[in-house]
């Protein structure tokens, strides 16, 4: 839709990509609120869909957009570090629950891998696909490292992360209702453990306590999986 010359002019600085990202995010948030915050359609997915449609229509290449948007995504590092603050503020409540957390984490984080890879294997998917799906519940920067070690495909992993995050949010909210669980600590932990950053964002929408337990679940799952999955893969594979 936009002429090549205009696109080239606009993308000489990262500001066009930054403006696109902010616009898509703000519109995505507005639609999300208008739809009464559906758990099956998080704001980040609405915004990403809007942006993908714009890229398709305008003819702007994803890689060109991504290079500009890197000026924003670089903040993901300090933003992840920032999660250390709510984590610290919830230390007393985490300490109360240290025993269940310590038992649940290795079991749940292992099963998150085993269930998905097991089902994929039963359905006859090839080894490279299995390797790409194994780290699906781990936060992106760690999951990329794991997937490289296992010999999986990074784009496929990114798709797996998105689906896992969105499904985790929806299932946590449905299952919590069904199992009559309203404890924010438990819901937050399940969101972070299974739904990585997407689940953690959702947990902060619920409450700071849920958010802190999600940060804890996300970081511990990341560390546990990064340390043990490549080793386990080596022995089984």
């Amino acid at each position: 839709m936009l002429s090549d010359a205009l696109l080239e002019q606009l993308t000489t600085t990262p500001l066009f990509a930054v403006a696109l990202t902010l616009t898509a995010y703000l519109i995505g948030m507005a639609i999300f609120r208008r739809l009464k915050q559906p758990t099956w359609l998080p704001a980040v997915l609405i915004a990403a869909l809007l942006l993908a449609v714009f890229l398709l229509i305008s003819g702007l290449h994803y890689t060109t957009y991504q290079q500009g948007a890197a000026w924003l995504s670089v903040l993901l590092g300090p933003a992840t570090v920032a999660l250390g603050m709510p984590l610290y503020q919830q230390f007393p409540r985490i300490r109360e629950l240290w025993r269940p957390l310590v038992v649940c984490l290795p079991v749940s984080a292992s099963l998150a891998v085993v269930y998905a890879v097991g089902i994929a294997w039963l359905m006859g998917l090839p080894d490279t696909v299995l390797a790409s799906l194994a780290a699906k519940s781990v936060t992106a920067p760690i999951a990329i490292g794991i997937t490289q070690q296992l010999g999986g495909s990074i784009p496929l992993l990114m798709g797996g992360l998105l689906i896992t995050g969105v499904v985790a949010i929806a299932v946590v909210s449905l299952a919590a209702k069904w199992m009559k669980i309203s404890d924010e600590r438990l819901i937050g932990f399940a969101l972070g453990l299974n739904g990585h950053a997407i689940g953690t964002v959702r947990a902060f929408e619920i409450s700071p306590t849920a958010g802190a337990f999600a940060s804890l679940g996300m970081s511990l799952t990341g560390i546990f999986t990064a340390l043990l999955l490549p080793l386990a893969w080596h022995f089984i594979g």
């Binding site: 898509a24 995010y25 998080p42 980040v44 990403a48 942006l51 993908a52 994803y62 957009y65 991504q66 890197a70 924003l72 993901l76 590092g77 300090p78 933003a79 992840t80 570090v81 920032a82 250390g84 603050m85 984590l87 629950l97 269940p100 649940c104 079991v107 749940s108 099963l111 998150a112 269930y115 998905a116 097991g118 089902i119 994929a120 936060t139 992106a140 760690i142 490292g145 794991i146 784009p155 496929l156 896992t164 499904v167 985790a168 299932v171 946590v172 199992m179 669980i181 404890d183 438990l186 399940a190 299974n194 739904g195 997407i198 964002v201 902060f204 958010g211 970081s219 990341g222 990064a226």
Partner: protein, 117 residues
Amino acid sequence: MTALGGFLWLVSFWLIGEVIVYLTAIPVSSGVLGMLLLSITLALRGGVPDTLAAAAQPLIALLAMLIMPGVVGVFFVAGELGGQWVAIIVSLMLGTLLSVLTTLWLMRHLMRGQNVK
């Protein structure tokens, strides 16, 4: 301008994470290492400085926007999967459903007697 000092805290902890990853070659990201180091530092120090809170709060609120550019890329790889995408989506959805149910059930079971609401 108070947020600026706090932002420097966050960036510094991320950089410390990078140095640790470089020195030890552990397969964990610098962001997650920085998060854990920050929470430990705050515990030792006993309290959150105002400057840090001023920077951390808005950044956490923007987390969804910061992961968005990566999510957009997902829509441009679907073509590479051939006919496997149904099996892939089924394993991801079913796997996640099972692991969420396991986590909730197991945590509730383990938290028995800890006044779960």
